[in-house]
């Protein structure tokens, strides 16, 4: 099964739509609830990252018999120091974003903690690509 969704930067009220849709699909497929919970946390955080930091992005999900593969590709500022961005507590989020309760520097660490495989590539001034895999 394939699912794609365009994500627009700054549109916080849409964050969570892709993760909710995928949650429904995984439930229908009878995937283990612990795997579902981990997967939707990762997708939600990835959605929020695009909304909070990029101009726009595309989220693609591929569900196979034994795994779910998620690719989030955005056009935006990119990440200057990926190692630092992966540290809990480090954030470059704006004041407005922080007031909403985002920007705690926990998004990428949450994604890593809730996925079996995570790769992240970023070009400053162009954008970021994150690939995630969870096995069922």
């Amino acid at each position: 099964m394939e699912y794609t969704k365009k994500i627009i930067g700054g549109n916080f009220s849409e964050a969570g739509e892709a993760s909710s849709a995928i949650k429904k699909v995984l439930k229908q497929l009878g995937v283990d609830s612990q795997v579902i919970r981990r997967t939707v946390v990762a997708i939600y955080e990835a959605e929020v990252n695009v909304v909070a930091h990029a101009y726009e992005g595309l989220l693609s999900v591929l569900i196979e018999d034994d795994k779910i593969k998620i690719v989030i590709e955005d056009e935006g500022h990119g990440i200057e120091d990926i190692e630092k961005a992966m540290e809990a507590g480090y954030s470059t989020a704006s004041e407005k974003v922080r007031e909403m309760g985002f920007g705690a520097g926990m998004g990428l660490p949450n994604i890593k903690a809730n996925t079996d495989k995570m790769t992240i590539n970023s070009v400053v001034g162009k954008g970021t690509v994150i690939e995630l895999i969870n096995y069922f």
Partner: protein, 112 residues
């Protein structure tokens, strides 16, 4: 194990969406205003105590299978948040109590 409905007579909470499911079992309480903190560390079935009132609260409560949301300090959920929670059957409570007061009372009630 206590249901949400049993809480209502024990603590001063206003249920904002009457059609929500208040027969959920409360598995505990998580208090935080940082959304990624809740995303990372709250457990399913927990009641979430927060002062955040926007739609992403609803998204997180739904994705994490939380049993309900308590909005403290006399804040009100915005329209989008309340609609989404109602759609997902998640009870939303408001109270004029502070986070400290709500958590203190819940701690006593749930550990009796």
């Amino acid at each position: 194990m206590m249901k949400i409905s049993e809480l209502l007579s024990k603590i001063d909470l206003n249920l904002e969406n009457k059609s929500a499911d208040i027969e959920h079992i409360i598995n505990g309480v998580y208090a935080s205003d940082l959304l990624s903190d809740v995303m990372g560390f709250a457990k399913h079935g927990e009641l979430w105590v927060t002062l955040q009132t926007h739609k992403n609260v609803a998204a997180i409560a739904g994705l994490k299978d939380l049993s309900g949301v308590i909005i403290v300090g006399n804040n009100k959920p915005d329209k989008e948040m309340l609609e989404k929670c109602t759609e997902d059957g998640i009870p939303v409570f408001t109270t004029n109590l502070s986070t400290y007061q709500v958590c203190g009372e819940l701690y006593v009630i749930l550990n009796q």
